[in-house]
Assembly symmetry: C2
Homo-oligomer: 249 residues x 2
């Protein structure tokens, strides 16, 4: 885990053309370089394509109409996790999901799938329409800050059933110990999967039928010990816990 930010500022350029040394930064990234960070010609930066490629670069032009950098040598970005973990997370009250997106990206999540379930707050669902664009921006900002060169996707809000029916990789649902759940150590005893979907419920908890549905569809029901966690802390705690026993930290 790095806490100090010692790397040069990083900019996301999704449409990087191979072998073209001169790169025009897209709108928001140009704004960030020129207006927010106020970098001028000669400044050392990095560009990454969001799919794992990252390069040193030098600013050659910084203005309100165009920001252009010259790409240098390829560099090693922060390595990706070995298990591609999709975090399926229930809509939470207020802007609580913003922090979850930010920290999950920094931990190394592969993708984020917000969902609605029986006990999801109606207000949360109503806010979700405006959420996806904001979560995508937060995911990008976090990716830039944490040193990853892969940009995790934040998917459209979906109903629980559609995620239960088709998890990416091993489906793991976090539940209370009352359900016949497996402990974290059981999860760690098996070899890590290549991909997993980790699902964390809303403030209101699961409807019992939802957990039964998940079990019927082959999901692993996981519990994380005897103490009660806040719903908005649970996603990051659960993600950290499975990454820890899978040797990702």
């Amino acid at each position: 885990m790095r806490i100090l930010l010692s790397m040069p500022p990083r900019f996301h350029v999704p449409g990087l053309v191979p072998d073209d040394p001169l790169i025009d930064l897209p709108g928001e990234e140009a704004h960030h370089l020129h207006k927010v960070l106020r970098l001028g010609a000669g400044a050392a930066v990095r560009v990454f394509d969001g799919r794992g490629g990252e390069w040193d670069a030098e600013v050659v032009e910084s203005g309100s109409r165009a920001v252009r950098v010259r790409r240098g040598a390829m560099v090693a970005a922060a390595p990706e996790a070995g298990v591609a973990i999709t975090l399926a997370v229930a809509l939470l009250k207020g802007d609580k999901l913003d922090e979850v997106v930010r920290d999950a990206v920094m931990l190394g999540v592969h993708a984020i799938r917000p969902f609605t379930s029986a006990h999801t707050e109606a207000r949360g669902a109503a806010r979700a329409r405006s959420g996806r664009g904001r979560w995508a921006r937060i995911a990008l900002a976090s990716t830039k800050q944490c040193g990853r060169a892969v940009l995790p996707v934040v998917h459209e809000v979906a109903p629980l059933a559609s995620i239960l029916a088709a998890p990416e990789g091993q489906g793991i649902l976090l539940a209370e110990p009352a359900h016949a759940a497996r402990r974290l150590a059981d999860l760690g005893a098996a070899p890590p999967p290549s991909a997993a979907t980790l699902m964390v419920g809303p403030e209101g908890g699961w409807h019992p039928g939802e957990v039964a549905d998940a079990m019927r569809q082959g999901w692993t029901i996981l519990t994380l010990g005897p103490r009660t966690l806040r719903a908005d802390a649970a996603p990051i705690v659960a993600l950290t816990a499975v990454m820890a026993v899978w040797g990702e930290l």
Copy 2:
């Protein structure tokens, strides 16, 4: 991990007299029962002593001058962690430490030691005087919510050196991979200690001399993988990670 709150409201009575069935709740707890939750005579509650004892109880009087309950059978509180972990955490900007205290208590921390170090924000240090009372209240509220009957202590803000000199149990300092640090798997490979102090630094990171001091004094330097975390997410991520490899989750 429980997310639903299915237990009756819980009240902290530090001075419980053995064998006395009638208990007067102290000031703030009485206020919470009578004014906030508006419980009346006959309501089912629980009382706990903050040292591990918990009992069913029934409200017999609920008024602005006195709140009295009748203690019933002893009940099993949420079990405590096997490793008594003290979280030593640098002062953070704004009220970021409030959330750390709340979630650390819910995860099952034994005690919290806020500290100042070379790169601690001066404003954080100035706010710390008012902080301790607030953090103690947050710790109590979290203890009541998460089902623990042991109330973790939030210590006075101390300088880093005093904690480095005398950790409770095994000293573990979270640092960047640049330091010759051990990985989480190394920590998990050894038998868990009976007690540990887990130390997490400020936004500004460690002064190199601080990490050197810790190493000289026998601390384990731990790193949590290659991606950068926000300083205010790092304490809970680190706490979860060590609890995961020590089999506490």
